[in-house]
Amino acid sequence: MTDPLLEVRNLRVAYPSAHGYSDALRGISFTLGREKLGIVGESGSGKSTAGRAIMRLLPAKARVTADVLRLSDVDLLAARESEMRDIRGGRVAMILQDPRYALNPLKTAGSQIMESYRIHTKASRAEARDRMLAMLEDVHIHNPGRVAGLYPHELSGGMGQRVMIAMMLIASPEIVIADEPTSALDVTVRGQILEILNERVEAQGAGLILISHDLPLVSDFCDRVLVMYGGQVMEELAARDLSRARHPYTVSLHASLPPLDHAVEELIVPEYDPSWLTETTNEHPKP
């Protein structure tokens, strides 16, 4: 692999609390090339915090430190806010969970996609409009002209998520961070949306970080998976090796899922071992 698109080493995020700082991320490290990386964890594991820290979208009170947080040539921790504005949406794009909340309810789908394109390129309105319509077609919307004129509340969940993908990929970012992109969608739509996301990311040669709580989905879709718990990476493994995961957390998480093809008397409830967290500076995140 050539130089990684993104390098993260010892990333830490802490929030002020009643007793000093409390850690949300406790030193995670990974690199991302032109590949699909999954970050899996349960609520409170720090997976979304990791995505937001890369975008520098955490609230000002959060204390973010890292040995390295680098987007190919840019040191993301040292970048000025004006530089970050070019990077967000331009070089690193983020797809959020629920299009009903993430899209601007007062603007049409088309104008939001055009806005995203024109902020990051010097394109004229007419040019942006053509690109927008082409992009809507790329995310398998059959009637781009009509959908462009619709407001977010007129879109179904699956349609809304296509619009969001179009909006995020139109500026040809190097990295796409998708934070639970399908968990607000129905099962029959999830597959289509992931397929479209995969198609666009591969066509544009971008790197993808898929953040999800859904272990089977991530292992099916990604090349590599990071399993997170309590703000730390428990295990990194090739997605196809998931069934051979060794860390007790990954194993028990996998086993707690009700199986579809056979019956079990009782589900396995994961138990947590404090020793998994090499640093025990604060309380257990989930009792």
Binding site: E42, S43, G157, D186, V187, T188, R190, G191, H213, D214, L215, P216, L217, S219, D220, A239, R240, L242, S243, S252, L253, S256, L257, P258, P259, L260, D261, H262, A263, V264, E266, L267, I268, V269, P270, K286, P287
Partner: protein, 254 residues
Amino acid sequence: MSIPSLEIKNLSISFGVGRSGVLAVDRANFRVGSGEAFGIIGESGSGKSTILRAITGLHDNYDGDVLIDGQMAPRPRNRDFFKTVQMVFQDPYSSLHPRRMIRATLMEPLEIYGLDRRDARIAQALSDVGLAPEYAYRYPHQLSGGQRQRVAVARALLLEPRILLLDEPTSALDVSVQAGVLNVLNALRRARGLTYVMVSHDLRVVAHMCSRIAVMTHGRIVEELSVEDLRAQRAEEPYTRTLIAASRAAVTAD
């Protein structure tokens, strides 16, 4: 089948009138035997939760019949009805009163029904769902999602109902927490011979919990099948097959 615990006959529910009216449930029929767990699966907007809300009386303007032990459920629902039928809602973050201690929430049904030994019943209900008695003295925000849903189950069980309606009881929870709540629900059903009607969009959960499953789409029950048929993918309807295929897509890693 002898007289079913719960029977739905030609149940239709619509919202709005005239051209803007929506038929949310279109002539649904099913019967659930005593001690059985019946599942309803479908995607958002299919009308699955609306059926539960009609059974429990939250949507009172339905057409068709709701029968409990062969008897027509009274309209509006009365106190006796709720001693037999209770419901657990989807979101444990919004179904518990945020400014009431758990004890006050659990006390309410006991007061309404004038039951005795209230503190003992509360302690017992909490221990039945795997919570220590001290939890009675906490507020909802001091509990995790799984603990709150256990409290919601405890509240529903305080009146010792025979039929429990479960509306996506674990969809707001992490899988590891879901496992614990599902285990509690299964254990309670076995121990007390409860009858469950469970609504979910998650095929895995329904397959784990229920012996018979109705598949809903666009307000209609298109197919009813046994869990064995579901696991073996023996479905007649194209929609059911699509649903099974989509849910299995991510299972290949197993």
